[in-house]
Symmetry: C2
Subunit: 315 residues, 2 copies
Amino acid sequence: MRISVLDRFYSGDVQALSRLISEAENQSNGYQKIISTLYPKTGRAYKLGITGPPGAGKSSLVDGLVNQILKESFKVGIIAVDPTSPFSGGAFLGDRVRMQNLVGRKEVYIRSMASRGSLGGLSATTFEACLILDAFGKDFIILETVGVGQIELEVAQHSDTILVVLSPESGDSIQAFKAGLMEIGDIFVVNKADREGASRLAVQLNMSLELKRKEQKGEYPVLTTTATSGGGINELWQAIKKHRDFVTKSELFSQNRKRQLKSQLKRVIEEQIRISVKSRLSSDLDWDQLAEEIYLRKETPYSLAGRLLDSWRSK
Amino acid sequence: MRISVLDRFYSGDVQALSRLISEAENQSNGYQKIISTLYPKTGRAYKLGITGPPGAGKSSLVDGLVNQILKESFKVGIIAVDPTSPFSGGAFLGDRVRMQNLVGRKEVYIRSMASRGSLGGLSATTFEACLILDAFGKDFIILETVGVGQIELEVAQHSDTILVVLSPESGDSIQAFKAGLMEIGDIFVVNKADREGASRLAVQLNMSLELKRKEQKGEYPVLTTTATSGGGINELWQAIKKHRDFVTKSELFSQNRKRQLKSQLKRVIEEQIRISVKSRLSSDLDWDQLAEEIYLRKETPYSLAGRLLDSWRSK
């Protein structure tokens, strides 16, 4: 049964692809074994991270970019990390709707992942989804995240090229600084270039990047796009390819990938420990009785925790 | 030295209080021992959780409520969990500014805690800060959180009474449903009652709460306030006291507290494991060499993680 899913996966079956990603996402029994099996086939895909504040127009930009990428017959996988917080202002469903003209195309695989609740967990799962898409034969993997917090930054840092997308609205450039986006970006995009303030924002970004350019000896270009009408998308795609050529030829590439793998190894270790702890915590210990003792102040949470851990270790 | 901080703490020194909370927050060496020492003195304070979307006016409401509480000579501690995400829309600094007329009053202790990055960690720290404030002799502890995600819900669930604050703007009631606020609230507040749509929102909430009232046999009142002018604050304070009387007389109270302690015990266990794992992960293993082997596809992150864990266990 498991073998047949893998067989179908290898033969290019998209349902099998979806199934494997789901198993990684749900941490089904044996999912790590499956990824281990696929692992030797990975390392080929190029990962493009796209991040920026909600409303900057990332999804429309992805839409436009993917059309460009497809023209050159590359296979594309998209992982969109959706903020599930209802108050975050991210148009989660809306985003998917905007990407809908990609949904029908079989060269493109789109997957949404929710960021709710799991720190580290999401980051690990995203990495694993990338491995699966990579083994499936995708040439480009686009990781779209909302640059709002630690989780998204971590996810973006799995990427080989990072695009930071801003729009002229709502003081984005200041926010980008605060969120650490200026540090992680390789290419900066001022989207909604037809709106007021776009060229001012581009100038501002260029100025802010001066120091980084000198110190890191990188180009860090600032481009303007109007994703909804397709303006600037081709230029952006050329800039991405240029950066990819630069990166893959530089020794930074393998260094960066090894850094990614090192964090992934640590995350897997933490994950495996977490799973084993979780099974301990849901074990048939009399937690109510233990809570009672703490409630009566006969014990403290710390003294009990210490004793339980000692007894687990000695087993 | 440590003893002298505790002595000062017991004598009511606010700086010593701050210092102990910082030690818990930073997980300084021995902080669990300190909390264990204080632990027998805890269990007296009443915890009031206040949550709701950004911009609902929680801080102004807290401000007004605290003034009411002080009139009855209760001692108050406030823990404000600030969203640190720059794009979340929460006016973090602004909130503190709005509470500024409380800052000078010595019966009130205000502490901000950042929610960035730490899942579970924040929840544990908040619980510990409550224990410290409790041992310090506070009668009421107000936990103000922005109801945007799992972390905040968890924090709110440390409370004995939970206030859900909404404003007539921006479809708050739908959002409140999505975020699970309707389930956790004991008292519902429509703040900014002078704005359009306030009474409609109150009607809507009352309707939505009908089922919960029947099933849980609780009152779940909906109140309207205009925190900035003080309107409705006294009524709200009476409702809170009524709920507190109901809760503390009911057997639900000790059940609820035991439930809180049970989760805290589990969190402490997880925390202690996390700390020991972290020290493992920062140990002098040759992580670069390990990453190299994964990069060359000689190993997978999973095979290596498994072997490392086995070797740690056998030590």
